[in-house]
Amino acid sequence: MPSRIQSQARPDSLLINMGPSHPAMHGAVRIMLELDGERILNSEIEVGYLHRGFEKTCENRTYFNLLIYTDRLNYVSPLINNVGYVMTVEKLLGLSIPERAQYIRVLMSELSRISDHLTCLAAMAMECGAFTVFLYKMKAREFLWDVIEATTGARMTTSYIRIGGVRADLHADYEAAVQKGLAETRKVLKDVHGLLDKNKIFLNRTRDIGVMTPENAVNYGWTGPALRSTGIAYDVRKAHPYLTYDRLNFEIPTGERGDNFDRYMVRMREMDQSLRIVEQCLAKIPKAKTGLMADGLEPAEAIRAARTQKPDRPVKLSPNLEGSEKAVTKDILADDRRVTIPPKEETYTSIEGLISHFKYFMKGHGIRPPKGEAYLSVEGGNGELGYYIVSDGTDRPYRLHLRAPCLPLLAAIEELIKGRMVADVIPTFGSMNIILGELDR
């Protein structure tokens, strides 16, 4: 079947394909262009090259199991995706979580947001020819990912935010690691400002290109940095505060013209604000009630002792991810046996713990939110990341729909590049931060 652009094309114009595998298209999008020389007469965008059946798969997974799929939606900021999904389920369950866990979620979300913006702008700069900026930003991202890795155990796809709280407490010297990441990121941001802000080539390719009016942006359903670049200060963190964002001090940077450069600038300034939030989190985060490292039995010893009788001392292991969890779960997990996994040492050393662990993962048991539906959104890297979950009372969602912030952004590109040059497609596409994982789902 010929596409729309093929059937409507003028006989004397040239049709070319950008993508789905194209050097300057990060991600598999296909843009079909109708050209008159270098000028774009018309374009058509085809998506779906990364359609992975997320929503259908989620209908066949339990609430606990489908968490891993949310990591891979917006794979540049997986932790924010986790937070959005988990909070929607918590809304269905009517669950409240400890304050320390809330702060950890905010901290992790903001680290994720910074790495999201870094990656987006790095790719955009590289496609405009600024390879140095790309390398610098990737360097900063590595330092942030080191923090994330030390706490969550994975660099990207962490599945760290769990229903009822978080998987593990922060690692013992997280504060120093975060400070190092922040310092490195600040240095890189300063360098990038110096390299790009007044760079003639960069300005020529971004200033007044891909201009969006505020009215049109709202009509398209834009959110996030792209909407803010047109001058509308809508941020889910301020408009509908969740977690502890109402207790933290930050501003919403906005642009004026809504062009590519403004989108770049809004992202850069948003990173500064995120750095501020992270610093405030470090100061305000409630202290853990127990020490991060529990002392007690060696794990093998504990299991051996449990064969005859219940061990009286806690198990000694690292505070995050493995080992003695009972002591820290109070701080980071909601006190509700129906929705949280029992601490590991209870599972291994007592029959009640084993039963509740087993029931948690048994088919038809586990987390079963009451019948109903909920929509909840968080501020993702690209805008309002909303989850709509319909529950029918079983352990699997009846329907799970993601409101992808990228979809309206990409839908608007056809209009933004009309009448421009071929070279303008690249910075316009780059400044939107199109993440196919969440768009195609």
């Binding site: 259908k56 009509n219 359903g221 959104s377 709509y388």
Partner: protein, 159 residues
């Protein structure tokens, strides 16, 4: 409090169109009849409600119901900072809903997605094609009766 007033106002304004209005878990929701959509949307878009943004548009499949598909719209008002959910049911044998493309531009892709995934058609849509799946794809994957693992390769696969 505000939530109930808008729901009541809508009920009073459209006694026939609005079937039900409630706010489960704090989400303001109205259930409307299918043919009242084009009447209610312009009213909501104008003052005093100014739902200027179509956040989301999706569909839920209930094979056991008489009216199989349930369309779900999420609107957002920047001026009043509030969301509204609109639901309406569509029977399978006449799975056609009025298109909202003339009100919101992003409805274009969102409706194409629903058509692709559920097979619900939209009257007045300028270019109703599949969005994600390829043209030759048979069936609509998000329907409950489509098997999870039924693959339709575009090229012959090896082995």
């Amino acid at each position: 409090m505000e939530e109930t007033t808008i729901l009541e106002a809508l009920k009073r304004r459209f006694p026939k169109g609005v079937v039900d209005a409630s706010a489960p878990l704090g989400d303001a929701t109205i259930v409307i009849r299918k043919d009242a959509l084009l009447e209610i949307i312009p009213f909501l878009k104008e003052k005093p409600y100014e739902f200027a943004m179509l956040l989301d548009l999706t569909c839920v499949d209930y094979p056991e119901r008489a009216e199989r598909f349930e369309m779900v719209y999420h609107l957002f008002s920047l001026a009043a900072n509030r969301r509204l959910r609109i639901k309406l049911s569509v029977p399978e044998d006449a799975a056609v809903v009025d298109s909202l493309v003339r009100f919101w531009k992003n409805a274009d892709w969102l409706e194409r997605e629903v058509f692709d995934m559920f097979g619900v058609r939209f009257a007045g849509h300028p270019d109703l094609r599949r969005l994600f799946m390829n043209d030759g794809f048979v069936g609509h994957p998000l329907r409950k009766d489509y098997p999870l693992r039924k693959r339709q390769p575009m090229i012959p696969l090896r082995k």
